[in-house]
Symmetry: C2
Subunit: 194 residues, 2 copies
Amino acid sequence: MTTTVGEPRPVGPGRQRLHEAALRLFAEHGISGTSLQMIADDIGVTKAAVYYHYKTKDELVIGVVAPFIDRVFAILEAGQARRGRRGQIETVLEGLVDLIVEARKLYVVAAIDPVIAHLHEIHPRMREIAARMQDLLAGPDPDDERRVAVVFFLSGLVGPLGDESCRDMDDDTLRGLLLDIGRRFLLQRKAMRG
Amino acid sequence: MTTTVGEPRPVGPGRQRLHEAALRLFAEHGISGTSLQMIADDIGVTKAAVYYHYKTKDELVIGVVAPFIDRVFAILEAGQARRGRRGQIETVLEGLVDLIVEARKLYVVAAIDPVIAHLHEIHPRMREIAARMQDLLAGPDPDDERRVAVVFFLSGLVGPLGDESCRDMDDDTLRGLLLDIGRRFLLQRKAMRG
DNA sequence: GTCTATAATGCGATAGAC
DNA sequence: GTCTATCGCATTATAGAC
C-alpha cells in the first residue's frame, strides 16, 4: 500500500526512461557524482528536458528512490503487524536484507552519499523511515548497548555490499550471511525483553 | 615509527594552522563539502595562500589525514608483532577503536567521503592500509562468512560514531560498547583456526 | 514535451606582484 | 609567504522558441 499522499507522482513514458537512466548512473558513479548533464546525455536529451520532469536535482533523486522508500515503509508495516518482538524483528530483518541485496549497487552508494545525507535533513519521509527502523529494531526503552548494536548493524550492512572481496558473492550467499549476522546481532540475549 | 619515506612533509607554523582549520571544517562539513575558499576564510587568508602549501586539494587532504594513517600503520605493526591470532586481533581492535573514538568527528565523515574514496584509488598508503587491516582481521584463507564478518565490522564502526542517538555518549562508554561488539564478532567460534 | 541558449554561481587552479 | 586578479571549467537552473 503506502499510497503517497500530498505528493502526486505520475510516471509517464519519458519519466520512466529518465528514472532508469538515473538509477543506473547513480549506482555507477554515486548520486553526487552524477550530473544532470550525464543523465541527459545518457537518454539522448538535453538538461532542459530533465528539468521539465523535475524542478531540481533533489526532487529528481527523491523521485528515483521513492519506490525503495515505499518498500521500506511496507516492510516496517509488515513488521509492526506482527505481535511478538522477535517476530517483528525477524520480519523487518528479512525484508531489509532482501531489499538491499537486490538493490545493492544503488544501496551502497545511496547509503553514504552527501546528497542522501542532505535529503535526510529536508525530506520528512526519509527522516521518518530511519527513525522508525531504529525504533522497531531497538525496541522500547533501549539502553546504550542496544542502541549502539542497532545503529552498528544498519551501518554494517553497507560494507559487504560495496567491498571488492564480497562483490562477487552471489545474492543468495550474501543474503544468508547477512541474515545470520543480523540474527546474532538483534535477536540474542537480554536485549529481548520488550 | 613509520617514518614517511619519499614524501617529505615539513610542518611549518602556517601549515599547522592550515591543518587545524581544515581538520575542523572537514569534521563539520565533510571533506567534499569543504571548499578551499572556506578553509582560507577560516584562517583569514586567501585561497592562493593555501595553494602555496599544497599544489592540489587532494594533497591537502592527504597532508591532513596523514597523522591518522600513520597511527593506523603503527597499530597494524603492533598487531603483527604479536604471535597468536587472538592477540593480534585484540591489539588491532583496541588500537582501532581507541583511534576512531578519539577522532570520531573526522572518522565519520572521512569513512564515507567521495574524496577519500578517490584517494583510496590513487594513494598507495590508503590502499595498503585497508587491505592489511582486512587481512589481519580475517586471518589466513578466510571463508566467505569470515570475510563478510570483517567487512561488516569495519563498516559498522561508522554508524555509532555519526548517529544522533549515540552522539552524546561519552568516549569511554562508546569505546566499551564497540570493543564488546568487536570481540563478540572477531574473536569467537570457528573462525579462529589460524 | 523537447529544444537552444544562456544566466548565475562556485569550484579548483594559475600567474605574477609585493 | 601572502597577496590580487583571473582563468577555465562544470555545475544547477532559467527563459523562451518550436
